[in-house]
Symmetry: C2
Subunit: 321 residues, 2 copies
């Protein structure tokens, strides 16, 4: 791990979270120093069970996994997305429970400890609701100054939302937390549906995962079966969006943003019809991407590569004939 | 006027309103039966003055012009857009004041009277804030049943707004009214920035108006000079968006919508950051336009023709060499 960038992963594992995790574990550029879980696709507790079972498959049970917030900052956890991710979050695929116990700390303390352990170096990848990050800023106001940057899968900027006409699930599950995280004094790369919906994995890709050398990749390949079914109505063919894996690859650097202006972003945490929307000010972008002075949030709209083949290059065996 | 469709125009004249009016007067398909004004680009009173001066230039002072609401349903008129339309709403071009007086009725009563005069036939073209229409529904709840349909220039669906990141001026100037109009029991065609920003007129087009046979066209051509300057920063060349003329041509039928699904639309009239946004539910449109059962609002996203040449064909002389 010498020279690898220390990374804190915040997740609600989740099928595409599992794929992102498998990719991070296979990426020498980063060192997964700790993982916190949050309620989103499943509860924070189930997300930790899933994460630890996946780490066990990968032989990486030394990575601390801390359970984070069950409820959003306001209100209570609504039960997740069993229609998308299955009852257990992994599309009904049963993994051997891990023998490792969750870290005794909560996810917030784990994140703060890692930020202090790696000042100026730690990167955060948040692929679930932003509850833990918001609570960490509240518990340790110096956190933004300690962290190198934050990559967030979330939001819908000019594209439609997925849980309302304008809101994406990660942001909508805790708009108050998202508002705090996106207005904090750190650099954020936001990876919204605008770009993640354009990155897909189809059945042929899934079959390559099923034949992959690593058990974690094969397990994720199995869990993807239901996920592909779920997206049939969206794309018109069996392919799923690679939301979380794209955010992971953008953090690792194997996929680069090609259109990603830094613009003012606010989160609608009103009780109006736009609740949960990420309002990024895209006025002034008609003639090409322009960074707005002072804006710290980079909104990724296009990338150089499709993340699907990038993932498969690291995780899977050769293409299936 | 035999066979021509009776039309009530609601406007806040305004440079592009003036161009839309000139086009409607030159269109045998419609009979402009009455015009109501509303505060938007300028105050309702100034909009009436501008409208009557334009009608005088066109020799059409018999068309009744009724002054409508100065203030939106909530709050007070904020002063218009002198930065876009000039202090007088016509880019600083001074027209001879009309000798005709405004109609003694207010715009709301004029609209209601016309709806009763032409039951099932009257069409409404609204190219300003929707205050008058909302008040007319309140004053005469049968209005939606009496009117054939409503074409509204307004909103921003997936495109950025123009007065906030997500809000377009006509809707943002009176979100409560827009909410009432878009939820009433009538067919609405919404012509948002998504499509109007793609329809432009440049300096060559303006010069053709300056050489047009009709005085009203030449006057509009003069008023467009400042408007083109204003848009230079948006497009990067001297060309202006044809917001209101596009809505007019879609009503007349000389431009046809080619991508225009009927979808649920709500207006954010909260006090959150999305206030004034038209939230159209575009989920489910990825594989092509799909009308959502029960939705009465058709959102125009693409058209068969550019409206610029369509306008110039009717209003202007031959192309300038």
């Amino acid at each position: 791990m010498t020279g690898a960038t220390p990374l804190y992963l915040d997740c609600d594992t989740g099928i595409d979270d599992a794929l992102a995790l498998a990719y991070l574990l296979a990426s020498p550029e980063v060192h997964v120093a700790g993982i916190g879980t949050v309620s989103g696709n499943v509860s924070a507790a189930v997300a930790a069970e899933n994460t630890q079972a996946l780490l066990a498959l990968a032989g990486r049970e030394e990575i601390p996994v801390a359970v984070g917030s069950t409820d959003p900052l306001r209100g209570t956890f609504a039960g997740g997305s069993p229609d998308v991710h299955g009852q257990n979050g992994l599309g009904g695929v049963s993994l051997e429970p891990a023998t490792a116990r969750p870290d005794p700390r909560d996810a917030v303390d784990l994140l703060i400890d890692l930020a202090r352990q790696y000042p100026g170096e730690l990167r955060i990848l948040a692929i679930g609701p932003l509850t833990n990050l918001a609570q960490a800023i509240e518990r340790e106001p110096e956190l933004p100054a300690l962290v190198r940057d934050v990559v967030v899968m979330g939001g819908a900027v000019l594209a439609p939302g997925n849980v309302s006409a304008v809101a994406e699930a990660n942001i909508a599950n805790d708009p108050e937390a998202a508002a705090a995280v996106l207005s904090a004094d750190w650099d954020v790369m936001l990876v919204p549906l605008d770009v993640t919906m354009e990155h897909t994995l189809d059945e042929l890709g899934r079959r390559r995962l099923l034949e992959a050398p690593e058990a974690i990749s094969r397990a994720v390949g199995e869990s993807l079966e239901a996920y592909l079914d779920r997206y049939l109505q969206v794309y018109g063919y069996r392919a799923c969006a690679l939301h979380d894996p794209l955010a992971a690859a953008l953090l690792v650097g194997t996929v680069q943003p090609t259109r990603a202006p830094r613009v003012p972003v606010v989160v609608d945490h009103s009780d109006g019809p736009g609740r949960g929307q990420t309002i990024a000010d895209m006025r002034g972008q008609r003639r090409g991407p322009v960074d707005v002075p002072g804006a710290r949030c980079q909104v990724v709209l296009e990338t150089d590569l499709q993340v699907g083949p990038v993932l498969l290059d690291r995780l899977a065996g050769p293409p299936v004939a």
